[in-house]
Amino acid sequence: MRNLLKCEFTRLTRSVFFWIITGFCVLWPIITALFYHGILAFTFTATGIGFEDVELPKEMLRYLTWMISISFITELPKFSALFACIHIGREYTDGIVRNKIIAGHSRTKIYLSYVLTQLAANAFLCIIYIGASIFGLWISGLGVEVNGGEMFLRLGVGIVVFLTLALIFIVLATIFRRRALPLILSIVIAMISTTAAAVIGNFNLPSKAVDDYIELRSESYEDLVDMGYFSNREVEKLEEEYDKDYYVGLGWKIFHPAYVVTPIGFESDYQASSAGILFGSSMEYTDEINFTEDFYESTFYDKSMLSPSDIDDLDSMHVSYGTLNLIYLAKCFVYMIFIGGWGLFIFRKKNMF
């Protein structure tokens, strides 16, 4: 196994295409940061405020740092898929897999050597991308805000989430002999995933309603009752009328399970929930954010419409930072075992001549 890994890593470092992608991972986030800087400078100048005089609020810097850094999740999949197909595909087209089997390596070890090398390569690319994002924000003069280092933890989980998606491409590349088919499949998956991540991510951005909820949540509902927001009769009536399922809606019921189970939703879910948490500076989960949004959108917008029971329900949906990341890591683990195990099963059975 060590021999195989050594060989694969050496081959990786000699791959021109790998270094081209690495170059992209360095340049793209820097260009993005400079682009954001340009837009902000133009906006401030156009409104008569000198950009040099403005100190960007922490919230905005945090937003920029997160959005530019985490965008490897949407930018890298196409390259990751292409690279896996080219790099592993050559092992088939040149017959090297056969060489390794004949030499006496087990199929399991050969498969693992491909998977581990590719995962390491993708992790390296993500780290380069994040580093270049921070460097880009710094040299552009915008500055960096990493939320007391917590953002690195979230980006770390983001890398694991991305690697889970990348594993799909890697497995496809290992089980198909021809390069074209896994390449097409991978790129289609990557494109759908990227688009869905962007669309759903935007949909999940927290609204004013969420901010209000967050504000409201900081007070106990007992206090709200005491403050006269609700009478006991109103509370009973609202609780009777309250129907969570009505607000969540049928579409969401169908979409959401698919959304969280598929890699597409899995990836975008992480982006959205993380963004929601970071922007709101609170500890909300996507379910919670969306439910709140739906709730507000479906009713006359008034904070007082939230009954103590609603707040209880919403609070019960609350997931902490730590728990959220653990959930994602656990999901990643399950995905990796499932996808990787399936790939290994096929690879072991596969005709190799």
Partner: protein
Amino acid sequence: MSETNDYVIKVSNVSKDYGRHHILDSMNFTVPKGSIFGLVGRNGAGKTTIMRIISGLQKPSTGTVEYGFDHKKLGNVGALVELPSIYSNQTARDNLIFQYMNLGLKIDESIDKSLEFVGLANTGNKKAGKFSLGMRQRLGIAMAMSGNPEVLILDEPINGLDPQGIILIRDLLIRLNKEKGVTIIISSHILSELSKLATDFAFVESGKVVKEITADELENAGGLESEFYSGTPEQLLPVLNAMGLRTRIDSDGIIYAKGYYNLTEVVMAANAAGVNIARVVTKETDLETYFVKLVGGESNA
């Protein structure tokens, strides 16, 4: 045929089915250690399939393959089945470096020696993808040889090569066998070439080995047979025997001799003994003829 336990590979009752298609049907043969073992058979007879099974690329449906050495040790089996497996975007040297890494071998001057051995020392930065077929075959052999294997399995290694390429591969294989003691299992359509290389043969027909024979036995069974006509055959007989030919004489005084010889040397030896040779008629039963006799029909091996 060497009837000892000194074998490298023993194939026992190996069958291979693809659905309803029976590719191998209870195949049996033994590859003696140190031999060049030629597998002879028509297209579709099962040569490549048994080579894949021996080299570990496929598993038999039934039957066993026993190895007379530790075949699980990395690099102890080298094979070039169908096409050479080499990185086309790497140089010959880099290909060997990767192969060494895969086998856990130290990257040292032995790589250059290997390249020299197969005649690829001067390929420099040329990528293997731009090599001629012969060069690719030789590089494939060098890679297969990297771990100093006990056995080298070569499926059609001279297929598609020009005459010069064939000679180079033939010489290379003979040197590997003689100098490094590598047992070679080889199949080829070009039976005349195979007969120049192999020390043992297995004739494969319809997924079975129908005959195993050594090169010596083949020569006895066929080979070059000559009829010597002389006025004094009794005097010529010891001259021919002295030259290593296997002889018999019939009632008409015609001497039948089996084996290969240099005619000039025979004539000179006869002159020296004061014997005259009136006429020599030769006929050769080569591997191809033997194969056709054995399995019937056209050769098409």
